[in-house]
Each structure stands twice: as C-alpha cells, then as structure tokens.
C-alpha cells in the first residue's frame, strides 16, 4: 500500500513540473508569434505590375503571410501557411506557382513555403541597396532546388 501512495505522489509531482514546463514553452511561443512580423509584403524593383501577384496571394485563404520580390526577370515568393494547410504544402506551392506564372508568363517564378526562405526573404527586402540582391536571389533559388 505504501508503495502505491508513494508512486502516486511521485506521479503528481513529476506531472506538475512537466505541465509547468509545457505551459512556459507555450507562453514563449505565443510571445514569439506576437513579435514575428506577418502580413503581405511586396518589394518591386522592376517595371512589372505587382497588382496581379497581390491579388493571387491575398485571395488565398490558406496563407498567413507572403513576401514577394520582383528583381530583374525573377519573381520570388515566400509564404507561410496556416497550421493545417501545411499538410498540403507541396500542392499549395505548385498551385501558387502556376497562378503566378499565368500572371507573369515572361518571368522566372519561384514559390516556397519554407520558413528558412521566408526568413531570408524578409531580410532581403529590408536591404537598402539593390546591388547584392541578384546574387542573394540566386542563392535562395539554389537552396530551394536543393530541397526538392
């Protein structure tokens, strides 16, 4: 009998610490999510009309944010997805790519739902001068290719 009660106490004790730890983590995650800038950003250094891209991205309910850049003949878009839409990540990437290619048939369109690409794109847009952008875009494109 003694052992059982001891064990119960042990369970409760250990469970408590875990739940506290868990709630702390969740709390931190919520705080973090508040900080990370979301929304739809477009950076256009070319003569293209960005309205079409905006329309495609903003009307897609599965996206939580999108970062797009037009640079020379490149159109690069990084998106983040709603939690349960992530299951269909590959499909969504493909669909968006097709839609954007329809809108800009003469551009080289790349779409990625990868968070690494999304982070890098945000940094890229914030860059003041446009000199290195071409190089960085090529690098991102090669990263995306590596993944598939």
């Amino acid at each position: 009998m003694n052992k059982v009660t001891y064990e119960k106490a042990y369970c409760i004790k250990m469970e408590g610490t875990h739940i506290r730890k868990l709630s702390l983590v969740i709390f931190a995650v919520i705080i973090l999510s508040g900080c990370s800038g979301s929304g739809f950003r477009i950076d256009n250094n070319s003569s293209e009309n960005q309205a079409k891209a905006e329309e495609v991205l903003k009307n897609d309910k599965r996206l939580t944010s999108a970062v797009t850049t037009f640079h020379e003949n490149n159109l690069l878009t990084a998106v983040t997805l709603k939690t349960f839409s992530r299951f269909k990540k590959v499909k969504i990437e493909k669909e968006l790519k097709e839609k954007l290619e329809n809108g800009y048939p003469e551009l080289d369109v790349t779409v990625s739902a990868d968070s690494k690409i999304w982070m890098e794109m945000n940094k890229l847009i914030d860059l003041k001068d446009n000199k290195d952008k071409g190089k960085k875009i090529e690098k991102l494109k090669s990263l995306i290719k590596e993944e598939t």
Binding site: N2, K3, Y6, E7, Y10
Partner: protein, 333 residues
Amino acid sequence: MVARGLLTFKTTPSIAATGVTAGPLEKKSLFAEKFDKVYEDERCGMKTNEHAHAKMMEDACMIALSKVDSVPSDADFLLIGDLINQMTPSNFAAKTVGIPYIGLFSACATSVSSLLMAALLTEIGMSKCAIAGASSQHNAVERQFRYPNEYGGQKPDTAQWTVTAAGVAAVTPHKKGFPSIECGTIGCVIDLGMTDPLNMGAAMAPAAADTLIRHLTGHNKDVKDYDVIMTGDLGKTGFELYKILAGNQGIVVTKKFRDAGEEFYGADAAFLSGASGAGCSAAIFLTEVIDKMRAGDYKRVLLIATGALLSPLSFQQGDTIPCIAHAIELTMK
C-alpha cells in the same frame, strides 16, 4: 509422497564464521551495517566488472577465514558459484585463494546449495573447514542477462535489482555456540510457463512453495517449529505469490515468513520489486539470520534460496524460465 531429495545431518556441522562484502550502492540496504566490508567503488578498484566480482568473492573468503583464525591453506574445500559466463568470477577467485575448488551453479539458489554440499563433505568427515557461498555483481549480471547498464529501457514494477554482494560461510564440524546445519531439501526444477525476465519473482515463487512443502512434509515439521522461514530473492511480487501458493497448500502464512529480496533495500521505490541475485540471499542469510541466531533471537530457521535457471539464449529462443529452490534448516542449541 515418497520423501526424495532430503538431507539429514547427524553430526550437525556448524557455520563457524561468515564473510560478507558488498558494493557501494548496498549502503542503501537496511542491513548495510552488518556487512563486513562495503566498497566505495563499484568496480572495487579493478578494471572490469567481472574482476570486481571475483575480488569481492576473494575478500569475502579471506574475511570468513580470518574469523576462524585460518589462512587459505587451512581450508579443505571451496564451494562457490555465480551467474556470469561459466562462473568465471568464482573460478578466478578460486585461483587466487588457492583452496581445492568446485564451482556450483544453482543460479541465485547457490547460496544454499553450496552450504548443503559443504555440510555433506563435513558430515562424511572429509572436511574440517569448507568455504561455501555465492556472489553477484549488478553491472556484470545486468549486461549479461538484460541490457547494457546505461540503456534507457523502462522496467516494470515487477523488475528486481541485482545486488552487488558476496557472502560466504566457513562450515566446520559441530562447534558449540554456533548455528548448525540440521537438515536440508534439494529442490526440483519447477516451471509454470513464466517467460518474462523482468518478472523473475513470479517465475520462482512456485519453486519456493514446492520446496517449502517438500521440506515440511519430508522432515515432518510444521511452520510453528521455526522462528523464521526466509526465502531468497522473490521480491515483492514473487513473495506475494509464494504466500498465496503456500496458503493454497494448507500452510498457515504468518509473520514468520520473510523474503531477503523484498527486505534488502527497504521500501525504496527506485528498486521496484526489490533485490535479487545470488549475493542477495547469501548476504542476508549470512548476516541478518546468523547474527540473530548467535544472539539467541532465533532458535530454528528455514532458509529457502530460489534461483531462475535461465540464460540469455534460452530466453531469446522463447523458452520459459525453469526455477529451483533449495532449503536448509539451521538450529542453535
């Protein structure tokens, strides 16, 4: 029932001295202060666990011999055993102490079977001093029978903790004022189809109950005759089952029933079902019980050491766990 496997000693050989050594973790045992030597290092300063195992055995032998004012050359026989590959630790210990040696194997029941053999040799007048005992070392046993020591597997509440300890007794012809061996019972191998190596207690309980009943009927004794009836290493789960099995056979289970494995570490839940191993029964029988007999608290005791006769191979090939139990009756006059 034809009485088979029963031993009666007319000359009642005595246990003149005991030597018990134990590892550092065994300081947690309720009986720790009764051990002759407790090592600070789990490898006893040796390189491997197996060498430590042999070293513990050697030291226990030397301690027992020194208590009867003897040196190894005074001893006639060395009857010891353990569970590691072909009993190498005992073999190496025997090499060092240099006493004529027979290795004995009854798994964890070796503690009693060796005492019985020593008593027989003394009874027929061939031995003036025989050293008998058994040992186990946690790390060495775990890695051989279960998993590597650092493996993170979950053990159920029925699992037992192998004790790091060695216990030996110096058996001499009858000496006044010392516990003497009056009779004993050699057990039969009992197998009731248990297969879980993490629930050895349940596998061994039927063997213990069987030997208990054979001893009582064979020697025409009753539970009332004894001050204590102690089993070797059934653990909490096995001990419960053993009491039920004995009760089913019409034996009145009283407070006299004790189990060394269950008591070894007290109520510490970290050790789950309790202690096990050849060293467990040897250490407790030869300290707690013998001390109380010499102090006059116990006049007549029955010790039943239980052993699971499995090997890692037999278990992996899906065999059940055959078990054995040997009984020895000590008296103090």
